[in-house]
Symmetry: C2
Subunit: 268 residues, 2 copies
Amino acid sequence: MSPTLSDFEARATRDPAPAPAKRPSVADNQSCLVAKVSQLIDMSDLELSALSQLQTEERSFARDEVLFSVGDHHQDLYIVQEGWLFNAIDAPDGRRQIVNIYHPGDIIGFPDIALSTRTTDLVGVTAGSICPFPKSGLGTIFREAPRLAALLLSIALREETVLIDRLRVFSRSSAQARVAYLFLELNARLRCTTGSDDNTLYMPLNQHEIGDSVGLTNVSVSRAVTALEERGLIATASREVRLLDMKALIEMCDFEDRYAQVVTDWFP
Amino acid sequence: MSPTLSDFEARATRDPAPAPAKRPSVADNQSCLVAKVSQLIDMSDLELSALSQLQTEERSFARDEVLFSVGDHHQDLYIVQEGWLFNAIDAPDGRRQIVNIYHPGDIIGFPDIALSTRTTDLVGVTAGSICPFPKSGLGTIFREAPRLAALLLSIALREETVLIDRLRVFSRSSAQARVAYLFLELNARLRCTTGSDDNTLYMPLNQHEIGDSVGLTNVSVSRAVTALEERGLIATASREVRLLDMKALIEMCDFEDRYAQVVTDWFP
DNA sequence: CGCAGCCTTGAGATTACTCAATCAATGTGG
DNA sequence: CCACATTGATTGAGTAATCTCAAGGCTGCG
């Protein structure tokens, strides 16, 4: 039996070893994008074929590999097949802002397609692979599969809502609240794909990278994590975080789960 | 001659008196959305009629009026016809995050349509009016006018890029840099609609509201503005800000103008 | 003239940052 | 199998920035 999307996801989150075993090409079965979209809506044959035509070869990446950089010209979106990545912007003072953390099934590079060049670097957190998806294929989708086009807009708008949530948290809250928010968000996202619900999450980012995500230094992250542990809100193992007191965590950073629902009532 | 979009904009930014004079209804000429979209691309007759059918009655609002609140169910997007508004989220500790500031021609409520309820409050900064646009009309656009649908996605993605820029600035930068960024962003947005290029901008927000926008207290805003003036980077009058040293301002907050361009090469 | 809203300024408290040293975990080569 | 190097996490001490609380000033308006 060939692997399904959830197989990929489970493997990616539990076994992020640097050298991934030989996997069957995605073309063996279906494209990453088809898998991703199938999760969200049922597709007609027409829609399926429109999507499948956009299939291109997957590309693998290594831990810490930079897949593209700010200023690069681009032709593609990517769908994550396996592994974690993030995109980031380097500030002139040497600090870095991690903008988004990507997991299997996520779409990478969406905001950039309205501009001519990349606005962020893309970096591998673990080893893994991504499926390119030519930007020009979007035209086809909009022309031939309006319902899929509407779904893409929905995905973009949900990303925007999440960014607004983060803006609120990161511009006002304490170090502990910021770290708590990051853990809660990752948990919400991973839960809706992997289905595990014990509120334990795999965390391949080191504390410096966590700091780059939430706007803190590695030292402040360390202190915040320690404080959250001492308060009994979380427990950390080697590369795992367990959220012990969801209610308190959610309350301290005013977290909202935006991944639970997608409204489709206005779709064509 | 009935007013054009740019008439509205010029009036809104230069004459934000609390009680707007009687204006002809937008139906006299064309819908707000048609005007907005015409700015960005040329439309075929088919596209024009698809858009025009979505016309509904405009609604006026007063300074400080709350037009909708977090949790409200919604059916509409809005296009700003005249005046300024912002949307905001109240934090449990009594502070408030202003998420977005809207000017004539802007689309309000876009991120919310992927969710069932409002995620922010909408508040009038000056008096003005907005044109509702039923969410269900989006389905029509996606079905019948794919190029307009693609344009909507572009607009959403540009909003997202701007949010990413803000996340970077507000989670790391100094008070002066945050305030400078806000002024630069407002200037860039107003310039592309009003066309004035002397880098002087109308600023109806008080310092408390500026603080709510950039994640500072009113006291810190006051100190930051004073410091920027003392350094000769800006000058402030009663309700105006003049940007004296664009180069230094842009450099201190790493500002990027995302409003100058929209790439349409992938459009159907 | 006096009130109200907004802005400014001061002083002390809080919070995160920087710099630096130490500790822990992991992996490598002899 | 163990010394050693490397990377990441922790802890301490002092610094810098913003926040809070509070008082006072300016401006526009009834």
